[in-house]
């Protein structure tokens, strides 16, 4: 799953369907690469990707914890993007 120098990126629910993508492995180009930089890189994969990355209601999690700031990423990290939750 977590290759050396890569992060695993996961999508859920509406975003997973929109991108037709459950998960993608992304190489970290440099040390201290931040979450916002990953999002910019993902947005460059195409129009739908750019749309998802600019969603107002995009929840971001790093290593299964929701983040509201812009943490640096480390090889092996798991990043996830999903809409507001609707369980229960």
């Amino acid at each position: 799953m977590s290759e050396r120098g890569h992060v695993q990126v996961r999508f859920f629910a509406r975003f997973r369907e929109l991108l037709d993508c459950d998960a993608v492995s992304v190489a970290l180009p440099e040390e201290g690469f931040h979450l916002s930089q990953l999002m910019t890189a993902l947005a460059e994969k195409g129009e739908l990707w750019a749309q998802v990355m600019s969603e107002e209601n995009l929840i971001r999690a790093v290593n299964q914890t929701v983040v509201n700031d812009d943490p640096p990423l480390t090889p092996g990290d798991e990043v996830a993007f999903f809409p507001p939750v609707t369980g229960g």
Binding site: R10, F12, A13, A61, Q64, F82, V85, T86, G87, G88
Partner: protein
């Protein structure tokens, strides 16, 4: 320390059996409060035929476990369990069960409501409804975020 448990499963569950498991052989318990959520047959006027529940395995269990740990720090609990189904459900199916046991009822009521409020707003589950008009992902209800903000 309270006995805390989280189960995510595709299989159906029986609220009565879960309550029996929660109390076990204990004779310390003064009260048990349970919440069972069911799939409703109608949402915003449309007849629901199937509800599809997706989740984020691993994160789901972690978030709910943390919620129960927070509850056990705030109130004196004996045991707490959450069972949540994923996959395909139909109207009338139980979808989530929260059971809390405590020596006194006030703690059990508060912890059960607290757990459901955080589950609704923090646990990574997503519901997709199938109606006669097709499929749609549900939006978060603002009343749920307001309820969580109370604590």
């Amino acid at each position: 320390m309270a006995d805390l448990d989280v189960v995510i499963q595709t299989a159906a569950f029986d609220p009565g059996e879960l309550q029996q498991q929660l109390i076990g052989q204990s004779t310390d318990i003064g009260g048990v409060v349970t919440f069972t959520g069911y799939v409703r047959n109608a949402n915003e006027g449309d007849e629901v035929s199937v509800l599809q529940l997706e989740h984020y395995p691993g994160m789901t269990e972690r978030v709910i476990q943390e919620t129960l740990e927070n509850a056990a720090q705030r109130w004196p609990l004996l045991a707490a369990q959450v069972v949540h189904r994923v996959g395909e459900l139909v109207p009338g199916d139980p979808i989530v069960w929260v059971g809390i046991s405590a020596k006194h009822r006030a703690a059990a009521y508060a912890a059960c409501e607290f757990a459901m409020d955080f589950l609704k707003t923090e646990a990574p589950f997503w519901k997709k409804e199938r109606t006669a008009d097709g499929e749609r992902w549900l939006d978060q209800r603002s009343v749920d975020t307001e309820r969580t903000a109370r604590w």
